[in-house]
Amino acid sequence: MISRKPHIIGKPFPLIEAQRKLTGRSCYAGDEKPRSGQLYARILFSERPHARFQLHHVEAARSAPGVAALLTGQDLATRLGAQVEDRELLATAEVLYVGQPLAVVAAETPEAAEAALARIQVTYEDLPAVFDIEEALQGRVQVHPHWATYRGTDALQGDPRRNLAHTLRFRRGEPEDAMARAHVVVEHAYTTAPLHHAPLETHGAVAHRRGDQIVMWVHTQAPFLQRAVIARALKLPLNQVRLIGQCVGGSFGGKVHVSIEGLLAAIAREVDRPVRLHLTREEEFSATFITPAMRARIRMAADAQGRLVALQAVYDWNVGASVDLFLHQLESVLLAGTGPYVIPNVSIEVNAIYTHLPPAAPMRGLSLAHVHWAVEQHMDELAERVGMSPVDFRLWNLVKGGDKLFPHFVMHATGLESCAWETTKAIDWHPEAIPTGPNAMTGQGMALGWSPILIMPGCKNRVTIQCDGEDLCTVIVDGMDVGQGYYAFITQLIAFELNIPVEWISVLPTDTDAYEPEWQAVYQNLLWSTGRALLRATQELKRQVLSYVSEMWEEPVTNLDIVEGDIISYATRRRMSFRELLERGSGQGAPLVFRATGEYAASTDGGALDQRLQAFAATGYAAEVTVNMKTGHFVITQLAGAVDVGHALNPEGVRAQLKGGLVQGISTTVLEKMEFEDGRPISTDFMHYPIATTADLPRKLYPVVVEVPQSTGPYGARDVSNHVIIGAAAAIGNAIYRATGVRIRDLPITAQKVYDALQRAEKGQAP
């Protein structure tokens, strides 16, 4: 009796790189062995938020000892952007934010590079700068007066005179009328602070022009996207730029888009020696990207039975000097902007507003965390006004499978309800505040959330599997493992599908030369699209192998299978090792090679947003806090977070992602804020940008895995990493309210804000 090996799907599976990472052998930015003849690049950054500037003594810098090349905006005037080219590679005449690159140099040593840049004197003629979105919208100062001339702006709904970069709108029913007739209407504004991805590994890369190709070893999340942007900026054909992905020490979205990589490619083009660049911590904070602050203005209405009848929401994002990297997020915000509820009358407006802050880039699921920070606190308040419990009110209005949410999108089966039950159960839900000490009150709060899995237009994913005698099974992918377990997932699935030992499989470094130049790979929600591509590749590969053996054994293919690394015939019981077959070759000394590629692209018939929408990941959270009523000091005592992952292919891996997301959720809810002083970042180290430590963990942290299979996902699975953070802030905010009776509507939640709100409440002022 031949049985299929108990499958490794749904079983523990460690991270592929774990052993290398834990023995110090992984190659992160700055870890590359110096290459022969290597040069070191440094960048000169703007110190003013908005100014006309001039560089003096550039020639002196160029001729400084050890300098191999130096570029300024005068030498290379070009623009950068994936969809909208609203950034300059090197500033040419005006700077638009502090930290904008002015010059890049390559020299024999880092010290020589520094010394050369020190020779450049920058004179600024300051211009009025605007940092606040309200002020920006008044349009007295324009961040991008020549906006309309940038490539890509024609596809945007913007108004450069008001610094409006882009607007998205969604409307259903008659929200104004419904509001007027509603039983209860609640209206508030919610705000958040700018954040930083703050990966422990700062940005770095090595570039080397070899002939007419610039080869780059990068530590980024999206080599294909970056290759396209860099090539266009340098006006090179795509095949003249090659990016090879290396180990990434944390990205969270901060290493998706081109930051220093474009400058490095430009300076490497000038020389024929390898050039290395590695940012300092201060540069990482002050000269890469920030995650934008949000302001949400929400009006929500319910009828006397507690049914939501209308929502009017405006989400404004302060995207700094560039919207390009954030455009995709705006679409997600539009789709998720109601929260996971059925509301018949809706109007949502999503605005991106330019200011003189550093360019914006999304961070993990945080834009959606901020949307839910608003919606889910609002839901709690509305529940109270209609006299329902937070749980009942949400369940009563929840989106369910079969709901037609958008013209082209019908909701699939979802675990939203389980997320609510499981998380509240985990913290032993009690809806009332409890005194837990002198001056101490303990309260609990919950939140639900959802997050669209949305494929960017024109993007695909591809997996190529090759089986041969030399390397057994090599895999070429176009996504990057940034610690979320992508390579483990690939390995696990191939081992399962081909039924071969895990040890045979090696995933090659992601290399843009592996696919044709125009390839645009998806870089987020990878499980979804890569998983689908992978299944196509394994099916094709298996077909090839079995047809080959079928000819050799003169047996019909339908008799054959691969089982635990052996090729077997169910009919004749014949069996041979697949490995031996590969190693033996085809006879006549020629190697035997099987190779198959699978591809997945979202439906491209029509680029409408809801046609690119694949699914909604469902999430749920429950938090408990204890608050000192005299000082506002609070401690998060419990936090539970659930994601409906469809099917947990690697359960411990999923739980690890969940726990990490919850910790990041706490960190971004109570600690983090990028501080600026007149546009100049002052949060430039971990002292001034505190992130959570082990001391900030709650006593009890519950990762909850919910599995309502997704019929269209690989094995019924959905992604997890981006979604785990979504409701943490809202649940904590709701718990603070439950404990104290005051509501904090501005992130981060600090003890001082809670104290201030308690004081206002005591004086009878509006909280």
Partner: protein, 155 residues
């Protein structure tokens, strides 16, 4: 100013000449090619460059290279015994104590320092021992678990 220094690094004697102002981290990474200790902040805030200096955990970015003269140093590269992984490393693999992995070498060293002085630490002690090691992925719960399991497995 140049200093001819010698120290024991991962049980091997090292002799070299260093400038006064360079840090132990510079020397490990640039001169000796040991890049296991990471450069995360250069301000002693993140712990990614943690090494054992005479048996206690320090941030190598905050130690001057000449201070290492005569010292015994252990980096993550010296943790495994030949081919055999250290129980901590094994446990980090088994319990998902590593995500992006940039903090992992420092975490392992901080954990080793803890186990050197407390054979079976309880959760609170582990938390306290790791406050100087930042993990942006938020993998702390699994890191703590990895250390706890490893310490229990030891004789």
């Amino acid at each position: 100013m140049k200093h001819a220094i010698s120290f024991i690094l991962n049980q091997e004697e090292i002799q070299l000449t260093v400038d006064s102002h360079r840090t132990l981290l510079d020397v490990l990474r640039d001169d000796l090619g040991l890049t296991g200790a990471k450069q995360g902040c250069d301000t002693g805030e993140c712990g990614a460059c943690s090494v054992l200096l005479n048996g206690v955990v320090v941030n190598a970015c905050m130690v001057l290279a000449p201070e290492a003269d005569g010292a015994e140093i252990l980096t993550v590269e010296g943790l495994a015994d030949e081919e055999e992984l250290h129980p901590l490393q094994r446990s980090f693999i088994d319990h998902h104590g590593v995500q992006c992995g940039y903090c992992a070498p420092g975490m392992l060293i901080a954990a080793k320092a803890l186990l050197n002085r407390t054979s079976r630490p309880h959760e609170e002690e582990i938390r306290e021992a790791l406050v100087g090691n930042l993990c942006r992925c938020g993998a702390y719960p699994d890191i703590i678990k990895s250390i706890q399991v490893a310490s229990r497995a030891r004789r």
